[in-house]
Amino acid sequence: MIGPAVFVAFAIAIVPLCYAFWLSLQDWYMLRQPAPKWGGLINYRALLQDTQLWASFGRTWIWTLGTVFVELLLAMPIALLLNRETGIARTASALILLPWVTPFIVLGFGWRFLLDSDVGPAHAFLHMIGIAGDSSVLNDPVLAFATIIFISGWKGTPFLVIALLAALKSIPDELYEAAEVDGAGAWSRFWHITVPSIQNTVVTVGLVLGILAFYSFDLPWIMTKGGPQDATTIVGIAMYKAVFLDLRPAYAAAISIVMLVLLFLASMFALRARRTD
């Protein structure tokens, strides 16, 4: 009975991963070597010398940490605000999910519209407070990258809010009452009761969101196609370009293997931050 589902898991995950590994060892460059032939470590050697690719890996770390940072920054106060028993708080915790469930393609074009220098209200606002000049922030390398990181974090925030809410609701009221009796102030109650109780949730969900951010493609591609001047070319976009623009599928496969290895190492590192009890 479990067969078909396992078959799908194999066909869509295991087989492609193994195939990617095999592919990454081939010499296959549509323009020079149209049929794949054994190349050993040729792609990995090229990859080590590809400074543009390493620049995009560097951007991807900033992107990933930035996204998770924005998510934590936005989700923490929202979750505390929604952790109440009023009707408005309950309705809000349903509606807060909207950015998470709205497809990237809609959000990407929506934000392009908001940030457009002719018609966008967000651009008008950024222009007013002096961040944006006459042209959209999306035309400035640094601002474009920062803006899209913010949007990426905004999109992922609801997931963290919901997870934090579940963790907050599972903290027994007695803990707070006892602390209050012992004379603990609001800040010390937050620091000594709330934070330790949600720490594992934050690490686990942060890791999940970090993995998702590391493998981002849709948002920077839809909004800026990796530009201006490669400023938003994170490694997902570099990989996509390697297949579809440079026509080097074997090289792209090598990139995806390296991504997987780096991600694995980073995850091991992040999981050490979990409380073990």
């Binding site: 009975m1 479990i2 078909p4 589902a5 396992v6 799908v8 898991a9 194999f10 066909a11 869509i12 995950a13 295991i14 492609p16 991963l17 195939y19 990617a20 592919l23 106060p77 605000l81 109440r84 009023t86 408005i88 809000a92 349903a94 999910l97 909207l98 950015p99 469930v101 709205t102 497809p103 990237f104 393609i105 809609v106 074009f109 929506g110 519209f113 908001l114 002719d118 018609v119 209200p121 967000a122 905004w154 925030t157 997931f159 919901i162 579940a166 686990t204 969900v205 999940v208 993995i211 493998y215 849709d218 997902g236 990989m239 996509y240 297949v243 599928p249 792209a252 496969a253 995806s256």
Partner: protein, 275 residues
């Protein structure tokens, strides 16, 4: 219960409303722009005064967009049906039977959830090309199965775990077969979860962009996200129409998710956050 002063709660409610508005205003703006005349979008101030459905009429008169709408519906519905049909027996087996490698297969299925589609994009594109299935909905449907299936299996397993075994055993003593017990006892009991799982698979497929972009280039097999992009690319385009197209894509996803929120949120957390 901790004591709370009503005044403080009301104040926090007001803050909640403001935060919620600021958080959602980018999405709200897409909807608002889709029902404003083009001249108001480009120079009509922030507050909408005139309403119109011309953008929807214009976009639904475009043949490529209608074809994409049909394709997205086909892909989404087929994905929803296959996902549910495969996930249900798997969830039942994982919940009810003790067999060799059960934990391994369970983790394998859950593991596919953690694997972003970008990680398998390159090999899948090459495989699909070698099978000669580029520009077919079949290939797209197959890759979309990975989106919702792992969560579907884990959600359904959770619901089946909650049904007492004795119910099925009683039915089997009365002469029901194992499959009979599944279809007559288990499925009716977890019907809301089954519908939620199918809906979720549909919604994920409906808005999926990367695989569609990588596998589809011909107009007659494009799905809605690609059609929306095609609306945008030429030099003369209408913001109103792009936002109307965006609304058509976003609305089913948002509505279906809100309707099945209770079932889905629990499942998402169970799948994504294992303690």
């Amino acid at each position: 219960m901790r004591r709370t002063s009503p005044l403080r709660e009301a104040g926090l409610d007001a803050v909640t409303l403001i935060v919620l508005f600021l958080f959602l205003v980018p999405i709200l703006w897409v909807f608002v722009a889709s029902v404003r005349p083009e001249t108001d979008i480009t120079g009509g101030g922030l507050w909408p005064q005139r309403f119109t459905f011309v953008h929807y009429v214009a976009i639904l008169a475009k043949k490529p967009f209608l074809i994409a709408l049909k394709n997205s519906l086909i892909v989404g519905i087929v994905v929803a049906i296959i996902t549910t049909a495969l996930a249900l027996p798997a969830a039942y087996a994982l919940s009810r039977f003790r067999f060799h490698g059960r934990d391994f297969f369970g983790l394998l299925i859950l593991g596919t959830q953690m694997l972003p589609s970008l990680a398998v994009l390159v090999p899948l594109v090459v495989i699909v090309r070698q099978l000669g299935l580029t520009n077919t909905l079949t290939a797209l449907i197959f890759t979309h199965l990975a989106l919702g299936m792992p969560i579907a299996v884990w959600m359904l397993k959770g619901y089946i775990d909650a049904i007492p075994k004795e119910l099925e055993e009683a039915a089997m003593i009365d002469g029901c077969s194992r499959v009979g017990a599944l279809t007559r006892i288990v499925i009716p009991l977890i019907r809301p979860a089954i519908i939620a799982v199918g809906t979720f698979a549909f919604v994920l497929s409906w808005g999926e962009y990367l695989m569609a972009l990588a596998l589809i280039s011909k107009a007659d097999v494009k799905t809605l996200p690609l059609a929306l992009q095609a609306l945008f690319d030429p030099y003369s385009f209408s913001w109103g129409q792009v936002m109307a197209g965006g609304t058509i894509i976003a609305l089913p996803a948002i509505l279906l998710f809100l309707i099945f929120r209770k079932q889905l949120v629990g499942g998402l957390l169970a799948g994504g956050v294992k303690g």
